[in-house]
Symmetry: C2
Subunit: 420 residues, 2 copies
Amino acid sequence: MTLTDGRRPGSRGVAADHVSLRRNNLSVVLRHVRDLGPRSRARIAEETGLNKATVSSLVAELVERGLLREGLADSSRALGRPGQLVELDGTGVCGVGAEINVDYLAVAALDLAGDVVLEKRVPVDVAHLEPGATLDRLAGLVREAVAAVEARNGQLAGVTLAVPGLVQVETGELKLAPNLGWGELSVAQEMRMRLGEPTYPLHVDNEANLAALAAYAELRGIEGESMHDLVLLTGAVGVGGGVVAGGHLMRGGHGYSGEVGHMPVAPPGRTCGCGRTGCWETVVGLTALLHKATDRDDPVRDPALDVEQRLAGITRRAEAGDARTLSALKDVGTWLGIGGAILVNILNPDVLVLGGYFAVLGPWLKEPLEKAIQERVIAPDGGGCRVVRSELGFAAAVRGGAQISLDQVFVDPTRIGAAT
Amino acid sequence: MTLTDGRRPGSRGVAADHVSLRRNNLSVVLRHVRDLGPRSRARIAEETGLNKATVSSLVAELVERGLLREGLADSSRALGRPGQLVELDGTGVCGVGAEINVDYLAVAALDLAGDVVLEKRVPVDVAHLEPGATLDRLAGLVREAVAAVEARNGQLAGVTLAVPGLVQVETGELKLAPNLGWGELSVAQEMRMRLGEPTYPLHVDNEANLAALAAYAELRGIEGESMHDLVLLTGAVGVGGGVVAGGHLMRGGHGYSGEVGHMPVAPPGRTCGCGRTGCWETVVGLTALLHKATDRDDPVRDPALDVEQRLAGITRRAEAGDARTLSALKDVGTWLGIGGAILVNILNPDVLVLGGYFAVLGPWLKEPLEKAIQERVIAPDGGGCRVVRSELGFAAAVRGGAQISLDQVFVDPTRIGAAT
DNA sequence: GATTTTGTCTGTTGAACCAACAAACTAAGT
DNA sequence: ACTTAGTTTGTTGGTTCAACAGACAAAATC
């Protein structure tokens, strides 16, 4: 991770002075403890290459800022004086993520340790509501989350909003959200107004991007620290894609990257929401699955049901071994692999993560998907890419939003807490 | 650009001390002068935010290392004492790039200012030669380039080899190069042996990746410094893709990214070299163009002709307004746009660069290509992506190889020159 | 000569480093 | 049980290095 850099990794480096040097090393120690767990000062010094005295000084400052705390004595080493464990102090600082999606609003607050302080999701038929009314309700949820953080005496690192559309990250303006039926709208400005011009940072980002970030954090715990490249596919009505490349979220030149749903891979068939035919999401979106697996008058297609109830219905049938359901799932899995192979050939990720409804139905999708990828990827052994289900479900984007707010604290710990 | 980082941007930051602080600021000043041109110390201080005294000290060290030199007096400002211009000293340090391709070997040496010291290309029918024999000949070219650098009394920053295949960058091992007919081979080790275990760094990288890097440097001069995201498409027998995202070369988890030639976008037609049908390169590769534009017994298809002679033939006919040629070019342009739109939707680059034969025939390909992209990209206005021809032609990869060696000097100027 | 700008010089500050050391513990010997 | 040697931890005092701040001589214009 950069030290003195701004947000753009490609930019010319920035001149550094003693302050940035200190900031860097504070960040190094803090992230070291986050990633590798509680450990003594001596061990931190050994592992980071910093001097023992320096580590002591850095830890003291981080403790004063409420980011680290001293824990128990370390009895793991046999000989010598036992060290005092230093661990992440989750209680002090929290980040909040909130999400607008087609049929729900959601919010999450995470503390510095990544533990969930509050998580809430309410069904809302956003497409049939005025944007203003939706934002009113979202602001209510954000206020609840902020209140929960304040009730814990926590400082708020920031709030990040996830939107399923094209977002200009720098300004927080939404350009287009076809699934919501929204056009241009300055979401950041509207929300700042509704939240009473708050002092904490408020950002807006693409839903799939934030979900990818959450999956990245989730999977580094499982797949290991050497995992740096990931593609997340979230299945919903459409298909969203988020890319982490070299440990950084890939946003593209104008923040419009990851629009994978409209790759023209399918044979000309159903017309897509974008007006064309042959789009990937016409064969792997939830609608496509329902059309393949059920008849028009099937009870799972009842408009009164929400996504999760429909998925529960499909899952039940698949578990019972219903032939038509299984065949439809295999079909979707194969198409998922055909598009997935394109992504793997272009991006060569370490893992391809299934999110949203793909994660729920993962057990049935995974096998045909992996087969299709193995057949189509040019690199030996599928480029070493594994297919993995995310456990975060529909909470991935809000988690990612909370995390990206917290990440700023890890990059620059001096943002938080009293000055020395 | 990072400061204290290793090669992997996602890795945990590295502890910094006074030495890395100095290294960073040396790098900042050096890159500042490279990117913004000659200027006085006072101006560098003003623009970078460093102190005047600090800049003096940094410049002195960079001059001592042979990376900067003092130029003329700056008479641009009206009032006051004129400054002494400080400029890049190209003469001291050079980087070398070399390339193995299907029908030629090439080498280039660039100095620190980016000026060409030597550039050479020799036709070689690599596919019908033993790999060992090819490497022997390549080693000869590299020795020529090194000799040219030494003749100028220049220090060699490094040598980078470009190969049209899947390369493991860390080890320098080639995994697969279908167009050469090569399998697994440790190119780095073989070349080090042939060059007599040289002391300078020797790396191996994918040809399209290096070409993308060269195009990035080329276009930042034209498109401006705010350009950070680029996709390069090199047309040859196949199609290669290179991606620069956020100013960094995107390599993927195992270095296998950018394999765009086999996206299944075309209708089932000719069988591709990979054994499947419908691959992108079956409709946009040079062979596809020749099949569309000419009959079997057409003189441009004469096996005695090389690529450039064939292209010259096609160009001549297009300029003369030959209907069949123009129609074939329009066709290829449209298919180029269909695949290109996928890349733009996924990666949202600032520019899509045409390299290799696409650049040569760019005038005829560009219009249908842009039309196809505009129609298929979801983001407004094609995601702000422009289509641009590269002027580097078939020298892009060697230039990129030389540049990536030189880049190391800009990141850490203390690698070069006498210690203070 | 007054003014403005450049670049150097002197001294200060801040942060990391180094070496020494007291504290806290284990293990072995008496 | 008590002592002693050996280990490891974390702090302290002093050193080093690099950036900074301000003063100032030099070199130009007006």
